[in-house]
């Protein structure tokens, strides 16, 4: 399969998954570019131990998490610099919410939900995104996250409980 064919088959998958992580079109585009650069660089090394789709899912998840970490670091350093400049209103907000898959009338509520999702630990967040938003089965999620179905069940349950708790806290 050529690189162009790989791109055409998986571009929407990559873009949508990146969107669930960063909730911003510009950032999702940047992640998608990084993903396909990585695919191009490593496609000859791909041994076929998993399906191409699973492999691309994994790259997208890793690139999205790396992107968030890098962005948080930049914002944090900006935050500290601003603190030095005595600006008390500065706060860390990883993404500027611009999710095209969200209905306009639900935008505010969705932003609140995603703010809570963004506070979850990485693996819980990934399990929740794959199962709840990407509608993957537990087996598919386990393959992508390279763990057992049992751990996926546990991760999802913990993510759901924590999210419900956080949502209740932010509503008050």
């Amino acid at each position: 399969m050529t690189f162009e064919q790989l791109y055409k088959l998986h571009t929407d998958l990559v873009y949508n998954l990146a969107l669930q992580y960063v909730q911003n079109t510009a950032d999702a585009e940047e992640i998608a570019q990084d993903v396909f650069m990585s695919v191009h660089k490593n496609m000859h090394k791909f041994k076929g131990k998993s399906s191409v789709k699973t492999w691309i899912y994994r790259i997208t998840i890793n690139k999205s998490l790396d992107f968030i970490k890098a962005k948080t670091r930049t914002k944090r350093s900006f935050f500290f610099n601003s603190k030095r400049l005595d600006d008390p209103d500065t706060h860390i907000n990883v993404s500027d919410f611009d999710h095209p898959g969200v209905l306009l009338e639900q935008k505010e509520e969705m932003k609140r939900i995603f703010d809570c999702i963004n506070e979850l630990p990485e693996r819980q967040k990934t399990a929740l995104i794959l199962l709840k938003i990407e509608n993957k089965t537990q087996q598919e999620t386990a393959n992508i996250m390279d763990c057992t179905v049992k751990s996926i069940e546990s991760l999802y349950q913990r993510a759901k409980n924590k999210l419900t708790q956080k949502l209740a806290e932010t509503k008050e």
Partner: protein, 80 residues
């Protein structure tokens, strides 16, 4: 949390392919000078080895020549 079920799948922008393609070409262009760097490094290494081999051979050659062959004994005397 049920609202998460309402998230729609969207199509990736067309411009994305052009951006990816551009970066791929740029990456490939960056690889070419690396080949040149490797070739130059290999040539320098070969020159160095050749130099070492030459030096060793030259040293061996001079070892075999006795001083008498280079400086004729009758022309010089330390006691004169």
């Amino acid at each position: 949390m049920e609202l998460l079920d309402n998230i729609k799948k969207v199509t990736a922008p067309d411009a994305l392919w052009h951006k990816v393609n551009e970066r791929v070409h740029k990456q490939q262009a960056d690889i070419v000078p690396m080949h040149n760097v490797r070739a130059i490094a290999a040539a320098v290494a070969l020159l160095f080895i050749a130099n070492v081999v030459f030096a060793v051979q030259w040293t061996n050659t001079t070892d075999e020549v006795s001083l008498e062959e280079i400086i004729p004994e009758e022309n010089y005397s330390l006691y004169e």
